[in-house]
Symmetry: C2
Subunit: 507 residues, 2 copies
């Protein structure tokens, strides 16, 4: 094969360059992990500079025209291969990343980083003092820069499309908005119906649960779920996250509140879901752009699948509740399984997204998504954002934030990054989690019973086989179609919610 003779060295050269870039990015990830776990306070200044240096070197190397030329030279070879072959996928995904990277001028990236760093500082104070006005001018600038950023990718249908594509490639305002509109129509009446019922009693979760025992229990749980501690570890941090340095080193971080059993346990299972995804990516993709989760939404689908569909299910606690009672005999010895199950699935119309239950959670996301589109479209001014926020909370959740600190100022996303693109993944993930889980249990109806006996192998293997191993080979849309046989839909999620919470709340 004449083509192959010419292309093999070029593909090898591309892989070598990509491995080098991956190594720099992995080192940057470790700098970040260390900063969030063990770094002493006075290491901060140099650490920020070190992170910036590595990011800049990786960016320079990745946007080198040599990479563009190699990708161009490899185009005929790529076209001669099956779309889903590893090599074609590697070239395709690398080209996608390359084109996104070269379109944004480094000077803009620098300006944007500097601005969002300043905006973040101002926001942190503004949130503490309930003072939206001081951060508003910074947010104006962020909005302007977010539009500028989108405009580096002309040809979009909606100005938010390029921003959404950053996290959820293949999704657009049109496709997301269609799903979210249906979802809202379904969810608002469900939330209203639940709100008319007595509130579940979650007081059993708010006793004193010593940190060491909580950590020990969650360690055992996630090991049983299939998290491989030979290829990962768990450390404490302020804001939990999952991070990957290689397929052999995928770590999670956790925080624990001694007066709230929910926090440590479910955030640990959540991060474990992300980690199971990354630990499951094919080793053949190591150190290439294929070695990662394919989109924010698909990643979130795995954290939520394990956290909610598994971790907040009756079968799961049928298995683990006796162990939890043994761990905390004084606190839970006299609390029966049903009371505990209802406590961890308490539904309540509340103000804070990150504390919201499975039913109301997506309404919080939808509010943010709609508002950021209106901002980008120029239909909403920054100065009117707090009122718009509060009105929408009133109409969708029936409550009004008493102040901006726990209203429009609560989430970091707009204040520490672009406006647009950062929220839709949460709800896309929830929708996907239900669609994937329904497909898995359809293929293996024994999964719930297995979970009740502490066996997660069938589910985990199914996910590895159908999702995890592929890394970034398929887009979210391709993956969903391939795995579930249909595009992303809201029905599996609505059906899951209706069944679970219908039974719980008798509605």
């Amino acid at each position: 094969m004449q083509t192959l003779e010419k292309t093999e060295p070029k593909l090898a050269q591309l892989k070598t360059l990509l491995t080098e870039i991956n190594d720099i990015e992995s080192a940057a990830s470790l700098l970040y992990w260390d900063q969030a776990t063990y770094m002493p306070p006075e290491g901060a200044a140099a650490r920020g500079r070190q992170l910036a240096t590595l990011a800049q070197i990786a960016h320079t190397k990745f946007t080198d025209p040599q990479i563009g030329q190699l990708l161009e030279d490899l185009r005929p070879y790529e076209q001669s291969l099956a779309y889903d072959s590893d090599e074609a996928s590697l070239i395709r995904i690398t080209r996608h990343d390359y084109e996104r990277a070269v379109n944004i001028p480094p000077a803009f990236t620098a300006k944007f980083s500097q601005h969002t760093a300043e905006c973040y500082e101002v926001w942190a104070k503004a949130r503490a003092t309930n003072d939206f006005a001081t951060v508003a001018p910074y947010l104006e600038k962020t909005l302007e820069l977010s539009r500028d950023r989108a405009n580096f990718f002309p040809g979009y249908e909606h100005i938010a499309d390029p921003l959404i594509a950053d996290a959820d490639y293949g999704m657009t305002v049109k496709s997301v908005r269609s799903l979210f509109t249906q979802l809202r129509q379904e969810l608002v009446p469900i939330v209203e119906a639940i709100a008319s019922q007595p509130v579940a009693d979650a007081s059993c979760l708010h006793q004193h649960f010593p940190e060491a025992e909580q950590l020990d229990f969650s360690f055992k749980v996630i090991e049983q779920l299939g998290y491989d501690f030979q290829r990962g570890r768990q450390d404490k941090t302020l804001h939990p996250f999952m991070i990957k340095f290689s397929t052999g080193d995928v770590r999670i971080t956790t925080r624990v509140r001694e007066n709230d059993l929910n926090e440590g346990l479910f955030s640990t299972i959540h991060e474990t879901g992300h980690a199971l995804y990354e630990q499951g990516v094919s080793r053949a993709y190591e150190a290439t752009p294929l070695a990662g989760g394919t989109s924010a939404g698909v990643h979130e689908s795995q954290s939520r699948l394990w956290e909610n569909m598994v971790g907040r299910s009756r079968p799961f606690w049928k298995c683990f509740y006796p162990q939890l009672q043994e761990t905390f005999p004084q606190q839970l010895g006299k609390v029966d399984l049903e009371t505990f199950y209802r406590a961890i699935n308490k539904v309540e119309r509340s103000l804070i997204r990150t504390d919201a239950d499975e039913v109301t959670y997506n309404l919080h996301v939808l509010i943010r998504f709609d508002l950021e589109l209106q901002l980008l479209e120029g239909k909403l001014a920054i100065r009117d954002l707090p009122d718009a926020w509060n009105e929408r909370y009133k109409s969708d959740l029936g409550i009004t934030p008493p102040n901006d600190s726990i209203g429009v100022l609560q989430d970091v996303h707009w204040y520490g990054g672009a406006i647009g693109g950062a929220f839709q993944g949460y709800t896309l993930g929830n929708l996907m989690s239900a669609q994937f889980f329904a497909t898995a249990t359809q293929a293996h109806p024994e999964i719930p019973q297995q979970i009740a006996s502490g066996n997660f192998t069938t589910l985990h293997d199914w996910l590895k086989q159908n999702l995890y191993q592929h890394g970034r080979k398929y887009t979210a849309a391709e993956l969903i179609q391939r795995v579930t046989g249909s595009p992303l839909q809201i029905e599996p999620f609505i059906s899951y919610i209706k069944q679970k919470f219908g039974e719980l709340y008798g509605i």
Copy 2:
């Protein structure tokens, strides 16, 4: 000033390039620290590659002709400045590093790394099975490559000079050998005299001391010594080391043996000595080649000064022994201070360098130094090395290793790196520690009493002022002359040994 107008941008440019290189090297250091402390087992393969990638990028950037050109352009400016000005020193030390770096071809470095990695693997097995013969051919190759390495720096007087200069710039075989010959003449009779006395009873150190309490005690000790935990931290590892990521982040690692109180405590103080040096370097040198210890010997002088002159002294334990007894009441409650002091200063002719006491330690180093010179000179063949080793142990320490595992195979240095240059620093450090400590106590005779009351400020401040702040500005020789008023000598060390151990052993 016309010169300044031309040079300022060049100096700024040089600093920018050096900061970038420093950041890459700091990231590599963190990769190493993590590997030695927290990394899960299966992270190893990718970690090795990541470390190699960063080392290669840093080397490529540092040996870029652009740096050579800037250094050349800055020469007139450097010459217009005082020798010990910060800027002249920065240019001078950078040039020194640059010239050493560019003289070694990257292909040689790769070959050398690959060989020493293989040799290390073979050695690890050979040591375990007491089989010098299998590693001998690898050691032959190491010897050849060590000579090749030296030959990239022609014009030396002795072939080991360039290898010594790597770790202890300014020192040569001639200067080191002269000191070491005198030292041996003094030490051998002292060791013989002590050996004729009854052996001290160290059994009190070999009880069961739980790890957590040991760590807790050493934490308090080193904090009181002046180790700044806002700019550092302590973690467990297999082979303790100190490591620096920035002046604000200088960490130590520790190991603890529950049946040996010596191990954890004194290795912690040892690494703290290294860390105090690095924490004390002027912040003005941050992220430049000036921001580090100036030589292996001077670094070791600080670890040994704090470990031995301070940590194994009577005043030190007058302060800390009551606290140690409180920590371990069952084990030490009935052991009096004098017994404990004699136990931690027990002198014994033994086979293992790393376990050796202050008196015999340097004899171990001198044996290795002399043998490696003979190897490099071609006066000793690798096959004859075990016999030469054993003979020298017999003549200097009066004992013969029963096998090569605890004889010629005991230290990693020759088997995991070059032959030549790695051992002299240990003894140079011991000599320097005594000369510096004598100067400090001469200037501040109150230091011992202060130590007895747990106050280390005068000593620490004196070291910061006279040594630490200067980083790499002065060579070891310059620093010693400047601080102590004379070149490095053996007298302060011999006098310290004679006084301390003469009193202990009545000789």
